[in-house]
């Protein structure tokens, strides 16, 4: 199953591009599912259909759904949800509002991943296209399986440490309901089993992200940062879509002369920033792209020369190579800022910090016991050297990359 996720700053046309990709792929005979992951769903508005959490047939070979955290919660997290609702009711919160509140943070991202994994597999789709929330939420979505694993580990320990001892006492003293072991069991079962599958799906070479941009300064700046972050987490990008280029006729309008000039520079900038990824382009339209026909036409224009479900470009990813006296880990980090980089090793993981982001990179087993011998960053490549403990004199070289 090919999985393509579209992301980018708000308002750049992610939903339109994602829907156009799906419509075009379906028209070319691929069995396609499009999933909206943005809690503020616009997919239904663009397809001009009311969508729900189950795949809805839109056209031959094309189904659509809007991930719904509330519905997923009801399906998978039955006991947790019941518990929360009871808790809110106990608080005297109106049932209607309680229902809204019973959404745990992160539930929306999880709902999307589960929908993609389960519906995608069960439905036998060739291609699943995901219309993601803006950049930051996308990263949260793609790193959720890792994050959830750590959070769960901590939460379960807290639960074991505190509640198992205190609950029986508290229960006797207080009327408020407390979560019992069954609630935690539900969380654990749901998460551990499925998380492994979700992680495998995200790491698959058949899964790629496409960045959507427009020729605007703020949009390109954000896409550049997103690109660095995606590389940090080793999530493959295969193309950039540049939307809303002025058509020739529009370039003649005096009011837009300056836009036209700037646009040319921005296009070159985007091509060099994201090289070697291909940049697909789509023109500004004098009408909003709404409805299946318009989307199909938009998709045909976008994918004139390539297939919408192909892996369009490949960038180097993390690499481990043996060298004299140890191993070398290379991680491409385009446009990362040297000053914000920091590397350390913690048990079997390499902790890489880039600005506000932090990745725990799991090392292959044979490297896990090595120590950090040095790290440097040059020409957008982070190189970390690992050596047997004691072999290297300088832990000093570690830490901030000089």
């Amino acid at each position: 199953m090919r999985l393509v996720l579209y992301t980018g700053k708000g308002g750049v046309g992610k939903t339109t591009t994602a829907a156009a990709t799906a419509a075009c792929a379906a028209a070319r005979g691929r069995r396609t599912l499009i999933v909206s992951a943005d809690a503020a769903h616009s997919l239904g508005d663009v397809l001009e259909r009311r969508l729900g959490p189950r795949p809805e047939p839109i056209a031959p070979s094309l189904d659509a759904l809007e991930a719904d955290a509330r519905a997923e919660m009801a399906r998978h997290w039955g006991r947790v949800r019941d518990y929360l609702l009871e808790l809110f009711r106990h608080q005297g919160i109106e049932a209607v509002v309680a229902e809204e509140l019973a959404l745990l943070p992160g539930a929306e991202e999880l709902a999307t991943l589960l929908a993609v994994e389960e519906q995608g597999r069960e439905g036998g789709y060739d291609l699943v296209v995901v219309d993601c929330a803006p950049t930051d939420a996308t990263l949260r979505l793609l790193t959720l399986p890792d994050v959830a694993r750590s959070a769960l580990r901590i939460a379960l320990k807290l639960q074991q440490a505190v509640s198992s001892v205190i609950n029986p006492l508290a229960r006797a003293l207080i009327a408020a309901p407390l979560p019992d072991a069954a609630v935690f069991k539900d969380v654990e079962r749901l998460l551990y089993g499925r998380l492994r599958r979700l992680r495998a799906r995200i790491a698959s070479p058949q899964t790629t992200v496409r960045l959507v941009v427009t020729p605007e300064r703020m949009v390109i700046d954000e896409a550049r940062r997103a690109f660095t972050d995606l590389c940090l987490f080793d999530i493959a990008c295969d193309a950039v879509v540049m939307n809303r280029l002025l058509p020739d006729e529009a370039r003649q309008e005096p009011f837009f002369r300056d836009w036209a000039r700037v646009e040319h520079e921005r296009r070159q900038e985007v091509e060099s920033l994201f090289a070697p990824l291909p940049v697909l382009t789509a023109p500004l339209r004098d009408d909003e792209v709404l409805g299946l026909d318009a989307l199909r036409a938009h998709g045909q224009a976008l994918f004139q020369r390539v297939e919408p479900d192909a892996v369009l470009g490949v960038r180097p990813r993390v690499r481990f190579t043996a060298e004299k006296g140890g191993w070398r880990v290379e991680l491409p980090l385009p446009h990362a800022e040297r000053a914000g980089l920091d590397v350390s090793k913690l048990h079997g993981e390499l902790i890489i910090r880039s600005g506000a982001r932090r990745r725990a990179l799991s090392l292959p087993r044979r490297l896990a016991s090595l120590s950090l011998a040095g790290a440097r960053f040059e020409r957008d490549l982070l190189v970390v050297r690992l050596a047997p403990a004691g072999a290297s004199a300088s832990r000093l070289e570690a830490g901030p990359c000089a």
Binding site: S42, R140, I154, A250
Partner: protein
Amino acid sequence: MRVILLTGKGGVGKTSLALATALGAAAHGHRAFVLSTDPAHSLGDALGFPIGPQPRTVCPGVTAQEVGALEELERSWSAIQGWLRGLLHEKTDELVAEELLVFPGLEELMALRAVREVEARGEYDVCVVDCAPTGATLRMLRFPDVLRIFMENFFEIERRGARWLRPVIGRLGGSKLVPQEEFFEAFERLYREIEDVRQILLDGDRTTARLVLNPARVVVEETRRSFAYLSLYGVSTDAVIVNRELPPRAAGGWFARWAEKERLEQAEIVASFPVPILHAPLHPKELIGVESLRRLGEEVYGSLDPAAVLAAGRPVRLRKDARGTVLEIELPNASKEDVDVGVHGAELHVRVRDAQRRISLPDSLVGRTVASARLEGGVLAVIFEA
């Protein structure tokens, strides 16, 4: 301190308008603070120079800051970290604040705290918050309620339990399992701070939201949903700002059809938002830098004081009573004969004489049957069957 939340669909121009609002407020003599709570910060991109997690002066009268969840955590959570560190002893030395960041929801929490800190400094008359796109903003506004419930239920219990157990468990050699009193104090302090923010956000005299949108179908649809949700969560919206309107001199030639579409959407906007509607045109150049943004503020607000409360009240409310769930809608000046109500999919259509308002229903009401509707004292109460 006045708090103005700027939110709306992604890409509509929230950041530019947040800065324009603050610069406009400063021109009216207010000391203004701009706080970005969108984890994908772009204040710096709009100004053309970097803004970071420390407050920085943009120009006389305007200070800006981009909330960094990591920095905030490192500053304030040492007691909680300490306990966790003991508990997760396998990583004794290495557990840092960053580990805690894995808990979803913490970013929202830190953003809320930052609002309170601006107020606590006492140096500002108005705080303009450049919020994340709508979905995330609603999650942020919901957060204090979730936390409050957690605190009232678990917290006191566990604290009492811990006091009880500490001596007992201590004798059994398991003292590290029971959190020390400082842990609870740190947590409680945090909770009080968030409770303060809740008070600030729900005080309609101090806090209002301004929704930014563009005259395009999909944007208007989403903004209408946000408007209803903000109101339901207790935040009043005091203005809607229509950004990037095609100016008349650009509306010819290739853009004629575009301009026509915009006119239709403008009518929709008037029908959807019963609050002042402000306007900003599309410019022939990108608006980057203090001077451009200041002019944008003048265009939007004219002679209005951007820090003023431009409209009061929450026009849509939800409550539950013996009859079922009641959706209340402010309809001043309407009489019973004038009003007609109907549910269409996920929307409630309210017709008052010739004007129709479309109100997005909260998810929990979609698909339910209307039992009755009545108009009393300028408020339309629509009762849904349970």
